[in-house]
């Protein structure tokens, strides 16, 4: 990523907002391309291949050779990579080794489910953590601030699987409010889908809100220590107005950055949460495929996860520049 940026900067491109965004998009695409080769190599270069994984240890050499030919494993590595990549960008993700079905068919619905869960969690985490962060800054060093800081610090230390099973134990087994597994199916109404995903969503919210709140608080406090805030205090602007009008406007760009980078963290967190709640999403699919050594599915899911992750990081950079255009002009 940095090579690409450095090379572009050396050419002394016209600095500005759109060139900046174009540069970041290009760098993101380059990074994704390199990662795709890393993912491919990671599953292709290591000892053992799809054929031996599929047939197991007792396979005869003849059967292995035959299957390798069928799967195209006798081709040179670079040919296989390019075939895989060009098929991938055209939407053909290959066929599962386990059941022979097209990976794209199995992934489409699951990807939707995962994005729904992540989006649901994000729609709660973002307003909640920004509110909590600002609230604790507004009442800085008061009991409220200390309580928020203490609780968020504690939440950060809790692993997702613990939160998940604790919620299942408390809300599902003891109180019987929710089902312990989140069954969703195509054609389900939005309201019942929301009810079915309340627990996994809550788990993600608890896992991430701590991080985001802490960082929002730190961003705003950092802005509050600037001279123009002191100026506003000296000229008698009420504290509330300083936080909401002066500090927030300037803290917006770091806050956006922090929020989106933590959403990227959702990508990894969602894997565990999906397994805890037996939620039919990408994460659970990928875990099953890794367990079964189903290479095409793993490659496709890993690349999709990486793409979402890099995409969110890219959005973080671009939105931060939109919120504070000065950033686009510094090298």
């Amino acid at each position: 990523m940095t090579i690409a940026i450095a090379a572009l900067q050396r050419r002394r491109w016209h600095r500005g907002l759109w060139p900046y965004i174009a540069r970041r998009l290009l760098a993101g695409a380059a990074l994704l391309l390199v990662l795709s080769s890393l993912i491919f190599l990671g599953t292709a270069l290591l000892p053992g291949d799809a054929a031996s994984a599929l047939l197991g240890r007792s396979a005869t050499p003849a059967a292995l050779a035959e299957l390798r030919e069928k799967l195209g494993l006798d081709q040179p590595l670079i040919t296989r990579y390019l075939t895989w990549l060009s098929a991938f960008v055209q939407g053909d993700l290959g066929n599962s080794l386990m059941n022979g079905r097209a990976v794209s068919d199995s992934i489409a619905a699951r990807l939707g489910n995962t994005l729904f869960l992540a989006g649901f969690a994000a729609s709660i985490v973002i307003p909640l953590s920004i509110f909590l962060g600002l609230f604790s800054v507004r009442y800085r060093d008061s009991v409220i601030d200390r309580t928020i800081t203490f609780v968020t610090r504690g939440l950060v230390a809790l692993p997702e699987f613990f939160v998940g099973y604790l919620l299942i134990y408390a809300l599902s087994i003891s109180l019987g409010w929710f089902s312990s597994s989140s069954t969703v199916f195509p054609g389900m109404s939005l309201s019942s889908r929301v009810v079915a995903t309340v627990l996994p969503c809550l788990t993600l919210v608890i896992a991430i809100t701590g991080h985001v709140t802490t960082m929002v608080r730190a961003c705003v406090l950092d802005v509050l220590s600037r001279p123009y805030i002191e100026m506003a205090v000296l000229k008698g602007v009420p504290h509330g107005t300083i936080v909401w009008r002066h500090a927030l406007a300037n803290a917006l760009s770091p806050i956006i950055n922090v929020v989106l980078i933590n959403l990227a963290y959702l990508v990894a967190g969602v894997v565990v949460v999906e397994v805890v709640f037996v939620y039919p999403g990408m994460g659970q699919f990928m875990v099953d495929s890794v367990f079964n050594r189903d290479i095409p599915v793993v490659q496709a899911s890993a690349l999709l996860f990486a793409a979402i992750y890099i995409g969110l990081n890219l959005c973080a950079d671009v939105l931060a520049v939109l919120a504070n255009p000065r950033l686009g002009f510094t090298s």
Binding site: L31, D49, A53, F162, L166, V267, V290, R293, A302, Y309
Partner: protein
């Protein structure tokens, strides 16, 4: 020595907690009432005097399994973190001192690994590699080493620019001498602090992998597989599946508090 007498309560509690974890790890054979795979009762026996946490699905004592699991989790994570630290710090310091194309290649590779979600990366590697303890340690160490590399390289680059390193070079000292006598004494605290934080992360990483069924495999057991195996026990009032989560959280808070205190003392005391 004077600092010993005004230890904050939080630091004392953290110290006790860390000592407890170390004791459980070291003394597992003495502390555990039963063997790790010893069957002592019926399926999902409720907590009793002989097995305070109850038994699991096939009647093994859960307290014993928790203690044995603590040993596997902590030792494996410590081994992976140590390996990562040695690997990352040595390459990082060398790259930071020597610069040139090896630094360029290594740093770009590290950027690349750090740009991908760690869990996804580990899962890709575990698709092909055998899921033995040695490979899991190696995979975690390799991924974690990138963090140590970045930190150590930065320290080396910063320190190498200082006058005393330059005069050491002019005196004709060898690179190794400079690393051990000039760079490391100046950079050891941040690296140790990183070690503590990375250790916690590795415990969580290992537990997550085992929970997903991709980490420690039976007959060995660790905290993550304990959660995986006993999640159904929640239905029968066996809450052992929650215990590893609590233990991880306590360990995380204790180590973080300790690291904060040590680094604050280092910065404030001078």
């Amino acid at each position: 020595m004077t600092r010993m007498f005004k230890l904050p309560v939080s630091v004392m509690l953290s110290g006790v907690a860390i000592a407890l974890f170390i004791a459980v790890t070291a003394l597992a054979p003495v502390l555990a009432p039963y063997g790790v795979n010893e069957i002592v009762g019926i399926s999902w026996d409720p907590p009793s005097l002989s097995s305070p946490l109850g038994t699991d699905m096939i009647g093994r004592d859960l307290l014993s399994r928790f203690i044995w699991g603590a040993r596997v989790t902590i030792l494996t994570a410590a081994a992976a973190t140590l390996l990562a630290c040695l690997l990352g710090a040595s390459f990082g310091i060398l790259a930071g001192l020597r610069r040139g194309w090896p630094d360029m290649v290594l740093s770009r590779f590290v950027d690349l690994v750090m740009a991908a979600p760690t869990l996804i990366l580990a899962m890709v590697l575990l698709t092909i590699l055998p899921r033995s303890l040695a490979f899991i340690v190696a995979i975690m160490a390799l991924i974690e080493a990138t963090r140590f590399y970045r930190l150590a390289r930065l320290i080396a680059v910063d320190t190498a620019a200082l006058d005393f390193v330059e005069s050491a070079y002019l005196r004709g000292e060898k690179t190794l001498w400079i690393i051990f006598r000039e760079i490391l004494p100046n950079g050891i605290m941040p690296i140790l602090a990183e070690f503590g934080l990375r250790f916690i992360f590795t415990v969580l990483f290992l537990s997550t992998l085992s929970f997903l069924g991709l980490g420690v495999q039976p007959p060995l057991t660790d905290w993550g597989s304990l959660i995986k195996e006993n999640k159904d026990g929640l239905l029968f009032g066996i809450t052992a599946a929650l215990l590893p989560g609590v233990a991880i959280a306590v360990l995380a808070v204790a180590v973080t508090t300790m690291v904060d205190w040590i680094t604050a003392g280092e910065n404030g005391g001078q």
